[in-house]
């Protein structure tokens, strides 16, 4: 192993599950559109330990990618991070200079974007794209060492060394997706965010890609945030699930609890809407339509669609609170205040 990279991931850090690797504090993002200000991320708090795998699910447009982009400080105008902190391994990313943030990307935190495989440069060989990332981070490393490292990274995602010399169009979807993962893990980051890494892939390839992420994650001891809609994938892969709705967390629970006894009414509806092979032709979509981010309903954002809505839900926003060991929920069904 090359020395430069060992600095990025000291073996001794791995396994220390007591200290959080990632903390989000009150992260808030808005997009200033022509129609007004859309609050896409509305004050999110999150703590993850080393080696933990979190699944982030929720309605399309609920702010999942926005949260990932905000963590990477890659929100572009008309979007803006309004407030909040992103702490990775004791470093507050929001306080870094542009220059330092550039270096933190890939080495501390990496993002495999939604539709990543289409973001590979079609006219550059795979190898050149990997080398570019290396050059930006460890410019002093000898070229052959860099290349050897890139090839090891490709091999760690089950790609042959000759992929280094190939162009993206010569690869299948699954292979391209694995190239993107190889880039994401090149510098052994502490936090890997994978945004729908397999939504364009068939189930067999999907399984291979997820097995790859799983293995690599264990090797480098990283924390993984898996963003996606495929609840099956979540059930098979993550430790905890966070359910997002209109830019807020509705519930975070260990994966077993989320599937067997979801607490938040939205989480319950989401779990109920999963298709299986028994009730053919029964579509259990959640009635109603997600509210506009330009004018969120007052109180609980889910109240217009909630079957259990109470007066207080229309008036005040429920706090996101621990209601059982390891479980947090934002719903008045679980707070003392509403009961009294």
């Amino acid at each position: 192993m090359d020395t430069m990279l060992n600095v990025a991931a000291k073996e001794s850090d791995i396994g220390q599950a007591t200290k959080p690797v990632l903390e989000l504090e009150n992260l808030r993002v808005s997009y200033y559109t022509d129609a007004g200000r859309a609050i896409a991320l509305d004050g999110v708090d999150l703590t993850l330990m080393a080696g933990e795998k979190l699944g982030l699910v929720g309605e399309s447009g609920s702010g999942k990618s926005t949260m990932a982009l905000a963590m990477m400080r890659m929100i572009k105008p008309p979007g803006r991070i309004e407030e909040g902190r992103v702490i990775v391994d004791d470093t507050d990313l929001t306080a870094l200079s542009e220059q330092d943030m550039l270096r933190a990307r890939l080495s501390k935190i990496s993002y495999i974007p939604q539709g990543a495989m289409n973001s590979l440069n079609p006219v550059l060989r795979v190898g050149a794209q990997l080398m570019d990332a290396m050059k930006a981070h460890v410019p002093d490393m000898p070229k052959d060492e860099m290349q050897a490292h890139c090839i090891r990274s490709l091999e760690s995602v089950d790609l042959k060394a000759n992929v280094f010399k190939m162009f993206p169009h010569e690869l299948s979807g699954g292979m391209k997706q694995r190239v993107c993962i190889a880039i994401g893990i090149l510098l052994k980051p502490k936090v890997i965010i994978a945004d729908e890494p397999t939504s364009a892939l068939d189930v067999v390839t999907q399984r291979q890609v997820m097995e790859t992420i799983d293995r690599v994650q264990k090797q480098i001891g990283a924390t993984v945030i898996l963003i996606g809609h495929d609840m099956g994938l979540m059930a098979q892969f993550v430790d905890k699930v966070a359910v997002m709705y209109t830019g807020r967390f509705m519930e975070i629970s260990p994966v077993r609890d989320m599937f067997l006894k979801p607490a938040h009414p939205y989480a319950q509806a989401l779990i109920r809407s999963l298709p299986n092979l028994e009730n053919k032709g029964v579509f259990q979509g959640i009635p109603g339509i997600a509210p506009s981010l330009l004018s969120l309903p007052g109180g609980c954002a889910f109240h217009p669609r909630c079957p259990f809505v109470m007066d207080i839900c229309r008036e005040q926003r429920p706090p996101f609170e621990t209601f059982q060991e390891n479980r947090q929920v934002a719903c008045y069904l679980y707070t003392e205040k509403a009961r009294s």
Binding site: S172, M175, Q208, D230, M234, V255, P275, F283, I289, L293
Partner: protein
């Protein structure tokens, strides 16, 4: 009565570069008929690179077949001209897999939706056009007032995918080719959009070719399924038979690889034999040979034909060679409508 769409022994071979000898048979001798009076939903499933998108592009007339014919309402689609061609282009619509690449980044959502309305003269006036647009957006769970006026990059992945579906809804086609239309939306919306598509078939008589790797949704929405592997049909029949009682070793692997949203059911009991990246070129025999746990001597010399297992199920696998053979032209007979 002439068929709505007829594929006759269609093959597509891609050759890499003019001088290169390497070629890929992306679709191999496929025949399929869809009738106008019996609108149906057919799923085409198979892993990455199995030829699904190639099939879609062929049916839309975006690429030309290397062999065989595609006939729309009695006319070879390569020979459609003028009025007929316009009709074909309106009646056969697509919803594509990749919402990131299809939209011109400089056009707003309303522009994307109103252009086809104008082009095919689908609305009586501006007001009518706007209502159609609103209706389609609402049907896919979007807020028209929030979405109209936005550029594609200002939308989330799933929102873009839904604009795609809305666009197809606006046009009320006869045949809809939907290539992974819901891969990027959540389960609840997936259900809503699929229900919308199913209503389209039931209420407006639209036939749908649903291309997906998601066999659970295929089971819910489609009547029949065709499983492709490297351009060839591996198994075909009713969704009830093929998905609940898969016979071909490849279909069994596919079904076994479904990540079940069930915490007590572990993923993939069967090992994946060879990884797709390790496979070299095709052998002469069965295309699935290199990965098949049941491979036999007789699988090597030539690819197996379809063997009919029941009225609505057939598998191209020598494990079933005691059953009657079925010519590839008879594929449609296996598919209930």
């Amino acid at each position: 009565m002439t068929a709505l769409l007829e594929m006759k022994n269609v093959s597509k071979v891609y050759s890499r570069g003019l001088l290169s000898k390497i070629s890929t048979t992306a679709l191999d001798n496929m025949s399929l008929t869809l009738k106008e009076e019996t609108p149906t939903i057919v799923t085409v499933a198979g892993e990455s690179g199995s030829g699904k998108t190639t099939l879609a592009m062929l049916l839309l007339g975006f690429i030309e077949a290397t062999a065989g014919q595609i006939i729309y309402k009695g006319t070879d689609i390569t020979k459609l001209r003028g009025e007929e061609r316009m009709t074909f282009r309106r009646e056969v619509q697509a919803v594509f897999q990749d919402p990131f690449s299809v939209f011109n980044p400089f056009y707003t959502v309303d522009h994307l939706l109103s252009v086809p309305i104008k082009k095919f003269k689908l609305a009586r006036n501006k007001q009518d056009a706007f209502e159609r647009m609103e209706e389609a957006l609402t049907a896919v769970g979007l807020q028209p007032n929030e979405i109209i006026g936005r550029y594609p990059h200002q939308l989330s992945g799933g929102q873009r995918q839904r604009i795609n579906v809305a666009r197809a809804l606006v046009l009320r086609p006869k045949l809809l080719i939907a290539d992974e239309p819901v891969s990027m939306v959540d389960a609840s919306l997936r259900a809503t959009i699929l229900e919308t598509l199913q209503n389209l078939q039931r209420s407006y008589g639209v036939s749908i070719i649903y291309i997906t790797h998601d066999l659970t949704t295929a089971y819910h929405i489609a009547e029949s399924i065709v499983v492709l592997y490297r351009g060839q049909v591996m198994e075909a029949g009713s969704v009830d038979d093929v998905i609940k009682k898969p016979q071909h070793p490849y279909t069994r692997l596919l079904i076994d690889s479904i990540p079940w949203p069930d915490i007590n059911r572990r993923w993939g009991e069967t090992e994946i034999e060879a990884k797709e990246s390790e496979l070299s070129d095709y052998s002469k025999g069965c295309r699935f040979l290199a990965r098949c746990p049941f491979a036999m001597e007789k699988c090597q010399p030539a690819p197996p034909p379809l063997f009919q297992l029941s009225q609505f199920q057939a598998a191209a696998c020598y494990l079933f060679d005691q059953h009657p053979k079925l010519a590839s032209e008879q594929l449609t007979e296996l598919l209930p409508v």
